[in-house]
């Protein structure tokens, strides 16, 4: 390496320096704001979690959340599902760039890797705040893995995918920074491993709930494909949003319109498939199912029994999903960047509605013994969730700038990055 004039360590130093030391006041202000939110979230979490465990205090504990024996998983696991999807879809730009050899996508592929890293960090943190004994988990998981448990597999593939994307991002930065193309020797195996891995993380996450006989509404073979389909709508949508912001705030960074256009195809296609899967599940549940528990849980989900907000979210997904598809195929919309960004935002909202509470909560209401305990997340839970997301966005912000700067050295040589 050193014979090439710059070592890998230098690249890491470059990333750290770029992330922390160069930037305008607006950048620092944003980072500071996120940090404050994150710290507040962490403080809330310590208040909930650590008080009884480490300080020996009698109060605190997950009892401060709205979770209970009927609904043991709530908002944390809900958003966990969503962000796994976003991480999985980060690879879309990479596939377009390296599998189909699209030159314009090569300029932005690294952003997908950054997004995957940030999303997985969020995901892992969401698990940490959810489990009751995080330290014990860290000590025991490597020592006593139970390979029949999907949770372990999820942990393995998630950390694997995180490592993979960090490596991908650093290598990209490493070469682009020196104005060299990424060597084929690296990128071919990388994309061959990363692309199936991306599907894999989301599939394994769906498998966590899919095969539980105790929760009939999850018990559908369409759950995993539906996860993946909607993930490939929301992930690229978030990527486009990030691209749009990068174009606005980084001087000299320009993206070809074809990137937006082609990504929109992916989004619309995935939305159609996702909506179709939903329709198929609705049909199974409301036409023929004779399982009382499944029917009762479906009524909670679609008709809003016991928990009106669930049905609202579900219909929001269906409504906004259809709207995004229709708008996405209207020429006047998909011929402008602004139109495409609008469709992306619609898609993100629709998939958040579909992938979060509406996946997890109906599995618990009514519960296995027919108990109904409506779940409304408490302020503390929401605060902790927001704090975790702030950390994720912060990671995105810190990593995206050095990555884009390296890209600019290679592709837009001459122009410097300012905030």
């Amino acid at each position: 390496m050193s014979s090439q004039g710059s070592s890998f360590i230098d690249t890491i130093k470059f990333v750290i320096k770029e992330a922390l030391l160069t930037g305008g006041p607006r950048y620092y202000l944003a980072a500071l704001g996120l940090l404050i939110i994150a710290l507040y979230g962490m403080y809330l979490w310590i208040f909930v979690q650590h008080a009884p465990i480490f300080l020996g205090a009698e109060e605190g504990g997950l009892i401060l959340t709205a979770l209970n024996d009927s609904v043991p998983w709530g908002i944390y696991i809900s958003f966990f599902v969503f962000w796994v999807g976003v991480a999985a879809a980060g690879i879309v730009f990479g596939i377009a760039a390296y599998v189909f050899g699209d030159k314009e996508f090569k300029k932005v592929a690294v952003l997908g890797e950054v997004q995957a890293v940030a999303a997985i960090v969020t995901v892992l943190l969401l698990i940490v705040v959810d489990i009751g004994r995080p330290l014990r988990a860290l000590v025991l998981m490597p020592q006593l893995p139970n390979l029949r448990s999907m949770l372990d597999w999820d942990f393995i593939v998630l950390t694997g995918y995180l490592a993979l994307n960090l490596i991908g991002m650093l290598v990209t930065v490493h070469y682009y920074r020196q104005d060299k193309p990424i060597p084929r020797k690296f990128i071919v195996p990388f994309i061959t491993i990363a692309a199936p891995f991306a599907i894999g993380i989301h599939t394994v996450t769906a498998f966590i709930s899919q095969a539980l006989t105790a929760r009939p509404i999850w018990n559908s073979p369409l759950l995993a494909p539906r996860y993946v389909a909607t993930a490939f709508a929301s992930g690229p949508a978030i990527l486009l949003l990030a691209l749009y912001l990068a174009e606005r705030y980084i001087k000299g960074f320009k993206v070809d319109f074809s990137v937006y256009r082609k990504t929109l195809y992916v989004i619309v296609g995935s939305l159609v498939v996702g909506l179709y899967f939903t329709l198929s599940e609705v049909h199974e549940i409301f036409w023929y199912t004779t399982e009382p528990a499944k029917k009762a849980q479906a009524q909670t989900l679609f008709l809003g029994y016991h928990l009106p907000y669930l049905a609202k979210l579900m219909w929001l997904w269906i409504g906004l999903g259809i709207a995004a598809v229709i708008l996405g195929i209207v020429p006047r919309v998909h011929n402008t960047k602004r139109g495409i960004i609008f469709v992306s935002i619609l898609t993100i909202i629709a998939v958040v509605a579909e992938k979060t509470m509406t996946i997890i909560i109906p599995g618990f209401i009514p519960s296995t013994l027919g108990e109904v305990k409506p779940y409304y997340p408490t302020a503390i839970e929401i605060g902790i969730t927001i704090g975790v997301h702030a950390i994720g966005v912060l990671v995105y912000l810190l990593l995206a700038r050095p990555a884009l700067k390296a890209v600019m050295t290679h592709y837009f040589s001459g122009s410097g990055a300012k905030h």
């Binding site: 009884p52 465990i53 009698e58 109060e59 605190g60 504990g61 997950l62 009892i63 979770l67 209970n68 024996d69 009927s70 043991p72 998983w73 959810d130 489990i131 009751g132 004994r133 995080p134 014990r136 988990a137 000590v139 025991l140 998981m141 020592q143 006593l144 893995p145 139970n146 029949r148 448990s149 999907m150 949770l151 372990d152 942990f155 966590i208 709930s209 539980l212 006989t213 105790a214 929760r215 009382p292 528990a293 009762a296 599995g363 618990f364 009514p366 519960s367 296995t368 013994l369 027919g370 108990e371």
Partner: protein, 341 residues
């Protein structure tokens, strides 16, 4: 050229020296004992039947826990005694219970396969089993944990989803009462999903949770089709004057915060040849407990005599808790009672 080789060799030696000294320092800093303490809960031998032998890791943990519990209990008792006086009833009770605390690590007996059955015709839905269970198994009083839930179901269709567990009056003539706790399934999904093997099925058929290993992920609660598992959402509190001193390390030792617990068929009693508290307390004798492998056991008799069924057979977990319709309802039903309702 040679200068370069020398330089790299020197670099290598330097790096080796630094690495050796750091590892030596870290080795001293993290004392072996500390390390062992961190790694104790992983001993795989805990899973096997040999745990019964004295000196097994489980036994050792039981003894350690006993010492700690006694200490805690004495401190609690002192508090009570100083506030209520040395010769108050509460003080004497607390002191007595503290002295009696015994934590066992008894292993399963060879060739035994426990099972339980319940006569749906007899059960009057009085919930006394649930209360006895709370007392026997030191369930956190502040959290309202009850391992046994009694479901009230219509006589025509025993479908769990139509059940009501918040009834206030029983028995009603057109209803049956179906107590539900852990079914100690033959193929338990709850143990399969646990990411750290904190819960498993023992050879005698009891599904146990190791409270020192549970990481509180609640995956097992999500997987159990019978809603049998309970989570300690806060630090559970049991007054020492109500503490049951007869304990088992995998059963009714007071639980920590953020771990999962569930019915263990009173492992502290049954492994010593007794019957669970719910069986003992049931005023109408609706419950039957015994060894499935023993042809003379009462459980075999009722199954052969009346035939039994399980709840949610479609879940495919093969519960070892059976229900059956025995000879008659206790107290006797008045003829025509259904018509009045």
């Amino acid at each position: 050229m040679t200068g370069q080789v020398d330089k790299s060799r020197r670099d290598f030696l330097k790096a080796a020296a630094v690495a050796a000294s750091t590892s030596a320092v870290s080795f001293v800093a993290v004392s072996r004992d500390e390390l062992k303490k961190m790694l104790v809960p992983v001993n795989l031998s805990d899973f096997i039947a040999e745990a019964a032998e004295a000196g097994s890791p489980l036994e050792r943990r039981a003894r350690e826990r006993e010492a700690r519990l006694k200490e805690w209990c004495r401190a609690e008792a002192d508090k009570i005694c100083s506030s209520m006086g040395e010769d108050s009833d509460a003080c004497r009770e607390a002191r007595k219970r503290c002295a009696m605390i015994k934590v066992k690590g008894t292993g399963p007996r060879e060739g035994v396969r426990f099972a339980m059955a319940l006569d749906v015709n007899k059960c009057i839905g009085c919930r006394r089993c649930a209360y006895a269970c709370v007392m026997e198994n030191n369930q956190g009083r502040n959290l309202g944990i009850e391992w046994i839930k009694v479901l009230e179901m219509p006589r025509e269709e025993m479908e769990v989803i139509y059940a009501n567990m918040d009834y206030t009056e029983a028995p009603k003539p057109n209803m049956v009462y179906v107590p539900v706790a852990c079914m100690h399934c033959e193929d338990p999904p709850c143990t399969m999903v646990c990411p750290v093997r904190a819960t498993w099925k023992e050879p005698d058929g009891i599904v146990v949770v190791d409270y020192d290993r549970c990481i509180g992920c609640r995956y097992c609660m999500t997987a159990c089709p019978y809603g049998a598992r309970r989570f300690n959402w806060a630090k559970p509190y049991v007054p020492v004057t109500e503490l049951n001193p007869n304990m088992h390390i995998l059963g009714n030792v007071p639980r920590q915060v953020h771990v999962v617990e569930k019915c263990t068929w009173c492992i502290q009693r049954t492994r010593d040849g007794g019957v669970p508290a719910c069986v003992e307390v049931c005023p109408v004798g609706a419950r039957v407990f015994g060894d499935l492998n023993d042809p003379d056991s009462p459980i075999r008799r009722v199954i052969e005599e009346y035939g039994a069924f399980v709840l949610k057979p479609e879940a495919g977990t093969r519960p070892r808790f059976f229900y059956f319709f025995g000879p008659k309802r206790t107290p006797p039903r008045e003829p025509g009672a259904e018509a009045k309702e």
